[in-house]
């Protein structure tokens, strides 16, 4: 269907709804974001000046609902795209659009939609504007709320691969999915009002892509199937999901015919003032894309969440981040948050007047065991090894041990003290060209907040990173001053004082002025930005070094 046809449909449906259902309010929501860069050349840090000098990304979402009817669209514009965005994004046009109908029993969407089955390891169509990541499905979705909480979902569509000349470019393959969820307590008599709560779910996803390979006979239809269970008993929760995938030769796995699997389990115990989480994950040969020839973050049908904490301090978040290895890993994580009680404990007020809390987190990931099935490199079926869930080797991919203590001293002053010990295997999860093997780093951070009065406050961060590999030691200082709730000034200096190359022992200084009024936000920043990975929720994109002015504008409505 062409965009013209769809827009006509939206147009005519909108009019008809406007005419005939006056009793339901028409509601419009959405948002606008625009980012402008004016960049200079800076040979020292490897920043280029683009031929156009100025770059501009803009988009606007509009969502309309009226009674049971809904429609929405996103206009996007890249003139040209800002640095670090997929370089094929260009032009101005519509990057997402849908119409739909929803009542208590059905929810139908035609056009673009985002969706997730279970924990996403079977299917996740998702967007993150900041990353330029968008693997929406374009097609048809039907959700049914059948009986006492039983839900069925069916999706059928093609994924968005790119945005060229102002138009969506779809991936080659078609994605079909079916998902069910059964909250057992709702409809099984003896479980009703019991302390034990059980929810079951199943997923089935299949993709079709024509076989255009000259060397191999490739499976054109590849299936993925799995189930999940969620148990809750009082303060305890236990959930797990397991999915299997048929053989799916692709550029990622170098066209082997192995099956794949992914398994996730989480155990939680929480009560007021205390929370504990223990998680485990096993992944083997699970790259699942709607185009088998694609790489990087393109057209993933499913999502394999990295099992580690998402950090927010600059040196921790952007130098050595880790994303799941889709070809295989076994990972574990444990996290504790504990707030010391404010009242007396062992004769002392340990928590202080305002309470103190401690957050500790450990995560690690290992290479899975791959047992050879044949003395040759591949067997006659091009299956190269056999793998079992949670069968791990001692080859480390990632380890992160971190502790953070938050303490409010009085109404004006508060501290957060954090320590991180991070090891990343740069041969597997490659993040730098300047090191081999495992990079070990130690990071300490002190954040201080001071509120002068209702209008004025200051916040500082002192960060230091020690490593013997890669670019050596770093120190970062951040100062942020807030004038009332509208205006803020910030300055950040990242100093690579330990770079083995003395010429590169430089300061990356960036200053920011921001103005916020209700749902409008304007920020100007000027300075040097080092090259690095920019990650949100375990999805990362590489951002090249830059030197110049960035202006950004956001508005919600």
């Amino acid at each position: 269907m062409t965009i013209k046809k769809i827009s006509l449909l939206i147009f005519s449906t909108a009019i008809s709804f406007y005419d005939f259902s006056q009793n339901n309010d028409l509601n419009i929501t959405g948002n606008i974001e625009s980012q402008f860069q004016y960049l200079n050349e800076d040979t020292l840090i490897g920043a280029n000046e683009p031929a156009e000098k100025a770059l501009l990304n803009s988009y606007m979402n509009v969502f309309i609902t009226k009674g049971n009817f809904k429609a929405g669209a996103r206009f996007e514009s890249y003139l040209p795209r800002i640095q670090g965005y997929p370089n094929r994004f260009d032009g101005t046009g519509i990057g997402m659009r849908y119409i739909g109908y929803e009542n208590k029993f059905v929810d139908v969407t035609i056009g673009s939609f985002y969706e997730q089955f279970g924990s996403g390891i079977a299917l996740r169509a998702y967007e993150d504007r900041a990353l330029g990541y968008d693997n929406l499905l374009d097609g048809f979705r039907l959700k049914l709320n059948l009986y006492k909480g039983i839900t069925l979902k069916g999706v059928y569509g093609k994924q968005r691969l790119s945005f060229q000349n102002g138009q969506i470019v779809h991936a080659e393959g078609i994605v079909r999915g079916f998902d069910t969820e059964f909250p057992l307590n709702e409809f099984i008599g003896f479980l009703k009002n019991k302390k034990l709560n059980i929810v079951l779910g199943t997923s089935l996803v299949s993709k079709y892509q024509a076989d255009d390979n000259e060397t191999f006979i490739l499976p054109e239809n590849v299936g993925l199937y799995g189930g999940r269970v969620k148990l809750r008993y009082g303060k305890f929760t236990l959930d797990g999901e397991y999915v299997m995938k048929d053989n799916d030769p692709s550029a990622d796995n170098v066209y082997i015919y192995n099956p794949g699997h992914a398994a996730i389990a989480n155990f939680g115990y929480t009560k007021k003032g205390f929370g504990l989480l223990i998680s485990a994950k096993s992944v083997d040969n699970m790259s699942f894309r709607s185009d088998r020839t694609k790489a990087l973050q393109d057209v993933f049908i499913n999502y394999l969440p990295a099992m580690n904490k998402t950090h927010s301090y600059n040196l921790v978040a952007s130098l050595y981040p880790y994303a799941t290895q889709p070809l295989g890993e076994v990972a574990f994580q444990a996290e504790i948050v504990y707030t010391l009680p404010k009242e007396k404990n062992w004769g002392k007020k340990l928590g202080g007047k305002y309470g103190t809390s401690i957050n500790a987190n450990i995560s690690n990931a290992y290479r899975p065991m791959q047992h050879k099935t044949t003395q040759y490199e591949v067997d006659s079926n091009r299956v190269t090894y056999s793998a079992k869930p949670f069968d791990l080797s001692d080859s480390l991919y990632w380890r992160d041990i971190n502790v953070s203590i938050t303490r409010k001293m009085n109404k004006k002053l508060n501290f957060i003290l954090s320590y991180y010990n991070i090891s990343i295997n740069n041969d597997v999860a490659k993040i730098t060209g300047d090191a081999k093997g495992i990079i070990h780093s130690n990071i300490a951070i002190l954040e201080t907040g001071y509120k002068f009065n209702a209008k004025h406050s200051i916040r500082t961060e002192l960060q230091t990173l020690f490593t013997e590999k890669d670019k050596g030691n770093w120190a970062t200082a951040v100062v942020e001053y807030n004038f009332g709730s509208h205006l803020f000034l910030g300055i950040m200096d990242q100093y690579n004082y330990g770079n083995p190359n003395e010429k590169l022992q430089i300061h990356y200084i960036i200053g920011t002025v921001g103005y916020v009024k209700e749902s409008t936000r304007l920020t100007f920043s000027y300075g040097r930005q080092r090259a690095g990975l920019f990650c949100v929720g375990g999805v990362c994109r590489f951002v090249p070094a830059s030197n110049g002015l960035t202006f950004s504008f956001t508005q919600s409505f």
Partner: protein
């Protein structure tokens, strides 16, 4: 594409008129999106079943200013509830990677808020949220009367003033 543009333009204009007909003020309504709470129960954002005004605060476990805002409000939240009958709904936009840490953090910090999980950003999109933290104040009719993006110390006082204004108006 032109057609779509004019279609939306037309819709936008017609809303302006219809909004003025039906409301005294030109405000937007709370969208209805189906989410889960921390226990996995289905919750419709437009049918929360609470009395009194609602504060929606979009946050994530990896967002430092969000946590600063919600931890600050936490200290005065009981006073606000007694004063105005408000319910604060902390909408977590943590996705699968960090979603399981949400109950750990919320209970570890002893928050009393209602917490909703927006793991695939459906509600975030519907509310037009660009980035977190973003806070909305909603009256008992479901009208969004105030919203604020980002957090700096002192913003909680502004929110409190808006909340008092709203309660005063409806009395």
């Amino acid at each position: 594409m032109k057609t779509l543009f004019f279609g939306i333009l037309f819709l936008a204009i017609s809303t302006q008129f219809s909004a003025q007909e039906t409301h005294t003020e030109n405000v937007k309504h709370l969208p209805s999106v189906k989410l889960k709470d921390m226990e996995g129960n289905d919750i419709n954002t437009a049918e929360l079943g609470v009395k009194g005004p609602i504060i929606f605060s979009f946050w994530a476990t990896w967002c430092a200013p969000c946590k600063r805002e919600l931890n600050t409000i936490h200290e005065v939240y009981q006073d606000w509830v007694e004063e105005t009958g408000v319910t604060l709904v902390a909408v977590s936009i943590d996705d699968e990677k960090t979603k399981n840490s949400v109950p750990v953090y919320v209970n570890g910090k002893a928050w009393d808020y209602m917490v909703l999980m927006d793991s695939n950003a459906d509600f975030k999109r519907a509310m037009g949220v660009n980035n977190v933290p973003h806070t909305f104040l909603v009256d008992t009719e479901g009208n969004i009367v105030y919203s604020h993006n980002s957090y700096s110390p002192g913003d909680e006082d502004l929110l409190h003033q808006e909340l008092l204004k709203l309660v005063k108006k409806s009395n």
